[in-house]
Amino acid sequence: MRKILAVFFIGVFGYYMLAILMDFPFGIDHLNPGLAGAYLKDTVSKTGAVNVVTSIIVNYRGFDTLGEVTVLFLAATGMSALLYDGKTMNRSRQNASVIVKAGSRLLFPLIIILGAYVFIHGHLTPGGGFQGGAIIASGFLLMFISYRNYHVSHRILSNVESTAGSVFVVLGLLGLLYGATFLENIMPLGIPNKLFSGGLIPLIYIAVGFKVGAELTALLDTMLKTVK
């Protein structure tokens, strides 16, 4: 009886939501009026970053990004607190075959370079700190899978994480020190499309890249180590 009632309610709710979502104006150009139009029109001249998405994430809504970075930090902290055992753990898997080992050693530096490229060029090309950091972590994951005894120092990772997070906040506080608002750009905007443009945006994204890379690597390492 309870289940039938639950299914009934979910059905009614689902139908209503579906009816609403069917009316969503997908594909219709409703971008230009209002806020979205303002972003598209003024971003390049006011923030110096040609990637509008990045400038919204890091500049207009940089405070949200600080929050999102904290959410990831929390997830990593919470997980390492819950998996804390006081003893050093090892990965349970065997060494991979020679082909995988040789291939991953070849690929590892390339993946790291790609990750760094993605977060350094966040204000110019698609991608940014979160994506770059995730790519770097995937490079480390490849090494974890191929080599049983490949160790990363959690001390260093945690230092990188703390430093990068603090750099983000301190860059924000610089704005206050200079008499502007929190997270406001206080650096020259530079020439659009150049690497050194966009003011604080690349600096923040580099910090985010380091932070996300270190956090995800530490997370993967903790989760893969299951045996004492």
Partner: protein, 489 residues
């Protein structure tokens, strides 16, 4: 001297990021960091009061004017809630100093700092998506803290909370997406202004999603299944933080949605009915509990039910009563939790029946618990009485006599189960073969702050009412809120 209010969020984040590094140098420092940082928040929110009472303080972030960028809108309501949150946070941070010994301690302090930062962010921000981000910070630290003791029950409670909370977050995000599609903005005041042009059918869908989402954190029936387990399995200070802080952030979110953003008249009746069911279900469940922390958890849900009833009245005086009740609950529930935590620690058991005779052995602690119980029941000279009286008299004045009768019945049940515990503390014989342990001075100090505040508010309720009046007005009269944000342009 007043600092930029954004520091109330930025500094705790910076401190939380730095704790792992500081911990390398000295294991002793991290436990004092929350006290200092939240102490700063407390100072800042007191200094802000004279400004925000006159007109909401708008803090621009990243140099962009309101609809374009994110801003903090600190009206009387947000400021009072921020004050409440930092006060409870400060008290619990003092209590933490000696109480938390579970490794890894520095992680505990990071999570503790972030749960308070998140809640502060929720009440200060003037941006819908930003509110969601801070709610995520609050709830994710809450999941981790629930399971912090790392036993089977803790993990189960945390997983349950994680599932419900995760679904709630998704619903809030979906609701925000719908609102953004049709209004093209995320600023709360801007949305409130443009909502009247949105098709009511769509606005209703968004409202349902947001109410369900915020209702989980606000412990609205039937979304509160996580609460009793999470409260009782988490470390004691965390239970106090849930009751004193996390719930308040959820209730604020819910109130902001239904009062400021949407204009549906019917939702107030819905809230009142749901509040009444929440109250009665929780009080009756609390009656049946044999574990003291579970009982307190259900009592916390019941108190929130009372707050929802008052919010459902949608009158100036009713909202004042709701806010007053929230303030009292924020002072008293942590007091009850913190004293119960030590009582459990001494008796070595979570069950109520093992607390016999604690009144003679631990007079201070038993007094704190009894005081909290009497105040929350609403015994006349204490603070809980005034808020309950405002809510009940306002309910009757608006013609909801039956609701008032049910609320009174709920209060009687509440009195029964609290008095049962207090009676056991004082009038039962204890067995002598328990080992002697001592209360830490920091914990006594922390609980004394709460007791003194409760007595002062009980004797001079007008002292806080003068601040709650403008706060209630901010909710009831939403054009005030909208104008204040756009006046700066």
């Amino acid at each position: 001297m007043m600092f930029d209010p954004v520091l109330m969020i930025a500094l705790p984040l910076l401190a939380a990021f730095l704790i792992p590094v500081i911990n390398r140098f000295s294991k002793a420092i991290p436990k004092y960091i929350p006290v200092v940082v939240i102490g700063f928040n407390l100072y800042e929110s007191i200094m802000l009061l004279p400004y925000s009472m006159v007109k909401p303080v708008i803090v621009i972030i990243a140099g962009w004017q309101p609809p374009l960028g994110i801003n903090l809108t600190i009206g009387p309501l947000g400021n009072i809630l921020a004050l409440m949150i930092s006060l409870v946070g400060f008290v619990v941070a003092i209590y933490n100093i000696k109480f938390v010994t579970e490794e890894p301690t520095e992680k505990y302090y990071m999570l503790f700092l972030l749960i308070i930062t998140g809640a502060t962010g929720v009440v200060l921000t003037g941006d819908l998506f930003n509110m969601f981000v801070f709610l995520e910070i609050t709830s994710i630290s809450a999941y981790a803290l629930t399971a912090f003791i790392r036993d089977r029950n803790g993990a189960e409670a945390a997983f349950k909370y994680l599932l419900i909370g995760g679904i709630a977050s998704t619903m809030i995000l979906l609701g925000i997406a719908i609102i953004y599609t049709y209004t093209g903005t995320l600023n709360l005041a801007d949305i409130a202004q443009k909502m009247q042009y949105v098709d009511p059918k769509i606005a209703l869908a968004a409202m349902v999603l947001l109410i369900v989402g915020f209702g989980v954190e606000a412990e609205l029936f039937p979304l509160n299944g996580w609460a009793p387990d999470a409260y009782s399995q988490a470390p004691t200070p965390v239970g106090a933080v849930f009751g004193g802080i996390v719930v308040k952030a959820g209730v604020y979110g819910l109130a902001r949605m239904i009062y400021t953003i949407f204009n549906f008249e019917g939702v107030f009746y819905f809230l009142m009915i749901m509040g009444l069911i929440t109250l009665l279900m929780a009080e009756m469940s609390a009656m049946r509990q044999s574990q003291i922390k579970r009982m307190l958890a259900f009592s916390s849900i019941g108190q929130m039910g009372l707050v929802f009833i008052a919010f459902g009245l949608a009158t100036q005086r009713g909202v004042e009563g709701a806010l007053f009740q929230m303030l009292n609950h924020a002072l008293l529930k942590p007091l009850l939790f913190l004293s119960a935590g030590y009582l459990v620690y001494y008796s070595g058991s979570k069950n109520i029946e093992d607390l016999d005779g604690m009144g003679r052995r631990k007079p201070f602690l038993a007094f704190f618990f009894a005081f909290g119980a009497f105040a929350i029941m609403g015994l006349p000279p204490l603070n809980g009485f005034w808020s309950k009286m405002i809510i009940i008299s306002e309910t009757i004045r608006n013609g909801f006599v039956i609701v008032a009768a049910f609320v009174l019945a709920g209060s009687v049940i509440e009195a029964v189960y609290y008095l049962r515990v207090v009676g056991r503390l004082y009038f039962k014989k204890h067995d002598d073969n328990q080992q002697e342990k001592y209360v830490h001075g920091s914990a006594i100090f922390a609980m004394s702050i709460l007791v003194i505040l409760a007595i002062v508010i009980g004797l001079y309720p007008d002292l806080v009412m003068q601040y709650l009046k403008p706060a209630a007005e901010e909710l009831v009269n939403k054009s005030l809120y909208i104008q204040s944000v756009f006046a700066i342009n």
